[in-house]
Point group: C2
Chain length 333, copies 2
DNA sequence: AGTCAAAATGGTTGCGCTATCATTTTATCT
DNA sequence: AGATAAAATGATAGCGCAACCATTTTGACT
């Protein structure tokens, strides 16, 4: 096996200079058609593939976007990722993805690692970075987008929606429907879940009539199965009084719904259920589950677009972009 | 904003040579503790981050693993990815991920792009690559793993299981249970789905007693909703005769199950349902769905380990690794 | 103290490519 | 045809780092 062909090898085969080959690859318009064809043939013939490291070093453009999400297994981030990938493709960039497992410390390490790739943009989830991480990011001068939630003091750009407001709204939805013994089921308890819980509490505190609340949370990661366990827990804690539950996401809500069948509870007659994120299954189970929808795919896309337009070094402060959310009312409430 | 600090800047601050700084970063054991501490402080102080492109160019080690999956949205590949990421972390590597949308041509382009990163290993899904893609991969000399299914002529290494056998087994399971009018619901119809269908047909052809089969497929991508539609379709085609369906994955199976409720069909009395992939929801719905489980996470992990041990240039042909599968029998059949 | 091996540190060079500038060729006009 | 601009091509240098080899320092032993 010969060693990998380089620019010079292509140049020799095509009978041109190395720099011309380089141009064919990055600025085809600047080369006459005759030479371009010759070079392209040579490239294909010897299976030449440009050395990205050398190219990035010489050109100071890595063609890479760094992305950190808190969890690969959570389908919510998957949707965002798909949006990111779809947008990145247009710009001929590569994504380097990190999973920080909801840990700011792990995120800090990841940020350092990913910065070494000299990414042309950085997409972070949430606004909960360590100080050192923020320092590194700021010093890098790279455009940065923080996704999913809104921040008063974003590192650079910010796009998301208010999980607090969504929590308030969905809780009010339950209250308006006449439910008065509300449970909150929370897993993981990351910052966004905490904000939803804060919204839940706020809505109840502000409500003019007497009502009860039962909060059951765990730091375990979310799953359908866990939803069933948490429903059991909230029913135990409320001694069977609880008549509606706000689940911090749709996985829990689905699990809670499945559990009601085993407990012989009617939804929504005996107990109402609402979730968060509006997964496909929530609309198709029986009864369908009320949930909170947000434009995740579009958020991912828009994040990339923001990065691309921002590389123009305008250090003007950009206001956070609120993509909003929508309460999808269904039979479960 | 000053330009990014480099090795020399750190060296100046720490009062050592550049190469010593480099060693602290890559071979800390080779440096005395005194200097190491000084250098580490300097690195942290000025927020130095190594330039990956330069490092990769000089050392000829990119620290990157390339991965191509057919779909980001399919949770099945998500599991594999998680396994890959968990293993990659141990080895201090980065993943560069591509989504080829089930298209060999798109995959070919991705392979060329990702090869330019000089990855130290390449993980592909399936065995359906174009000739030129195979040429590029072979010529690169990089260790390669093809995942998910087994191949007679793998490019390099191969780990997966037989979707054909799984299709045969699950169909036989239905036949043994006494069902005789079997439907197959297929979406996407990628190679693995086709193999499952082939298994379905084989089992029916080999069965000693008379039985009927109804095959309904579409190239649309799979979803829960589609499962409901395909169930409608197979019931229409069989004029209500169909008494069991093998869904090519659990999304379809869930959708089919939800649809039976709307159609007032009892599962498994009126119709049996089985799926593929054993998603969490399948075990928790009522009735729980029979499915085929496979060690996806472990497959991902093992793929990375294979790549890492294989970089030793042993060009011996390695036999495919069959990780097997398991039929999980539940109430739906 | 003197010898030698081993460990620690440093200097030089080149990885493969592209930015920059210099040069040559081609096209356009009077 | 000659003058000028514009397009196409080429030569050189350097991006930031680590491999390689040279040198210095340290430690272990007689």
């Amino acid at each position: 096996m010969n060693k990998k062909p380089n620019l010079k090898d292509v140049a020799k085969v095509a009978g041109v200079s190395a720099i011309t080959v380089s141009r064919v690859l990055s600025n085809p318009d600047k080369v006459s058609e005759k030479l371009r064809t010759k070079v392209e043939q040579a490239v294909h013939e010897i299976g030449y593939i440009r050395n990205h490291a050398a190219s990035a070093l010489a050109s100071r453009r890595s063609g890479v976007i760094a992305v950190i999400i808190p969890s690969l297994s959570n389908i919510v981030f998957n949707d965002v990722l798909q949006g990111i990938y779809s947008a990145v493709k247009q710009h001929h960039l590569q994504v380097v993805l990190g999973d920080c497992h909801y840990s700011p410390l792990e995120e800090e390490k990841l940020i350092a690692t990913l910065l070494s790739q000299s990414p042309e943009g950085f997409i972070l989830t949430g606004t909960d970075q360590t100080d050192y991480a923020r320092k590194l990011l700021q010093q890098s001068g790279i455009p940065i987008v923080q996704l999913m939630e809104l921040s008063d003091c974003p590192i650079d750009m910010n796009i998301g929606f208010s999980h607090f407001n969504a929590g308030v709204d969905i809780t009010n939805h339950l209250l308006q429907k006449g439910y008065r013994k509300l449970g909150f089921l929370g897993a993981r308890m990351d910052t966004r879940t905490q904000q939803r819980l804060a919204g839940f509490k706020k809505a109840i505190a502000d409500f003019k009539q007497p009502c009860q609340s039962y909060v059951v949370t765990t730091t375990q990661s979310s799953s359908i199965r866990l939803g069933g366990q948490l429903l059991q827990a909230v029913m135990a804690e409320s001694q069977g009084q609880c008549d509606a539950v706000f689940c911090c996401n749709d996985d829990l809500a689905l699990g809670a719904l499945f559990e009601t069948k085993r407990m012989n509870l009617k939804v929504p007659a005996d107990i109402a259920i609402c979730g968060f994120n509006d997964l496909e299954a929530s609309a198709l189970v029986e009864p369908a589950i009320t949930s909170v929808a947000s434009p995740r795919y579009e958020m991912g896309q828009q994040a990339v677009e923001l990065l691309m337009t921002a590389s123009g070094k305008d250090k003007t402060h950009k206001p956070p972009i609120d993509v909003g959310y929508r309460i999808v009312e269904r039979a479960s409430t």
